[in-house]
């Protein structure tokens, strides 16, 4: 099956030359003769497609729906990274508070009070 996949991958770049002649010129001629009737081609289906292809929200949602596994891994990794930093910050703050308490305890004022 690997060979088939390899050939299919190459086949993506294949181009067929139309037997009836130059397709480019036909399209260009067609565009030169566009009239009001052609507006009908922009039907409801096309407008729906057009709206979706211009919507960043829709595009992102599609990317997530197409790769749910990838986005789950990214989300879990982000949660871990954020949790890690929160823990470190909390630890640093706790240590800071401890050292302030220790400083207070070892200050001369406290010593004289005890004496």
């Amino acid at each position: 099956m690997n060979d088939v996949n390899k050939y299919l991958k190459i086949a993506r770049d294949a181009v067929i030359k139309p037997p009836s002649g130059n397709i480019e010129e036909k399209i260009i001629n067609r565009i030169s003769n566009i009239d009001n009737k052609d507006e009908n081609l922009l039907d409801e289906k096309f407008l729906d497609f057009f709206e979706k292809s211009n919507s960043r929200l829709y595009q992102t949602a599609e990317k997530i729906r197409n790769n749910p596994g990838f986005f789950t891994v990214i989300t879990i990794t982000l949660i871990f990274i954020i949790s890690f930093f929160v823990l470190i910050i909390k630890k640093l703050l706790d240590e800071g508070e401890k050292s302030v308490d220790e400083l207070k305890l070892s200050s001369p004022e406290n010593k004289t009070d005890k004496d």
Partner: protein, 195 residues
């Protein structure tokens, strides 16, 4: 001041410039876009519809739609992706409309005689890959002759990069059926290549 586009492929830069010019009404720029993408659109339509004239008709329709709507194109995806999706949608609509009359098979002989398959864009060196190219052409002929239930999902998945979910939505079939049909289509190709 001139904008510099370091790190971008020339084609990508060209494409963006051409789209910008076309949006502002430059007809020559749009014609250049037609020259760059018409064969790609035609090929996509041909593999789905299996009819040269229908493929031509769809190609013209797609470019008319692009011409009429390009001003509103925001470029969130590449132009190639956009035009590819538009072509596939137009072809699927045609298949739905003429599902019974349109499903024509093209014989392998006819395909070899009348249709020239060009693989110059595949980036393979000629000497090294002569055998590969011949096999790829053979693969494409097999694909064209596959039954619609196998051909469309296989083309969308392996040649057009659609996800299984998108294919299922597009052709209105369960995702399991789509996966099975694609697997079977690949197996048919493998078996025929062995013959």
């Amino acid at each position: 001041m001139e904008k510099k586009n370091y790190g971008k492929k020339p084609r990508e830069v060209d494409e963006k410039v051409l789209i910008a010019k076309s949006k502002s009404g430059d007809r020559a720029a749009f014609e250049e876009l037609v020259r760059q993408f018409s064969k790609y659109v035609y090929t996509t339509a041909f593999f789905i519809l299996r009819d040269a004239y229908e493929a031509e008709d769809v190609s013209q329709e797609v470019f008319v739609k692009v011409y009429l709507s390009l001003k509103g194109f925001r470029g969130l995806s590449s132009f190639k992706t956009w035009i590819r999706r538009l072509t596939v949608n137009t072809c699927i609509d045609r298949l739905r409309l003429h599902s019974k009359t349109l499903d024509k098979k093209i014989s392998l002989e006819k395909m070899t005689e009348e249709y020239e398959i060009d693989l110059t864009g595949s980036g393979m060196s000629l000497e090294k890959s002569y055998f590969n190219k011949e096999t790829v052409k053979e693969v494409l002929k097999i694909i064209v002759n596959l039954d619609e239930n196998y051909r469309i999902p296989l083309i969308l998945r392996d040649l057009q990069d659609y996800s299984y979910r998108e294919i299922a939505e597009l052709i209105d079939k369960p995702i399991g059926t789509v996966k099975t049909n694609i697997h079977r289509a690949r197996k048919i190709i493998k078996d025929k290549l062995k013959e």
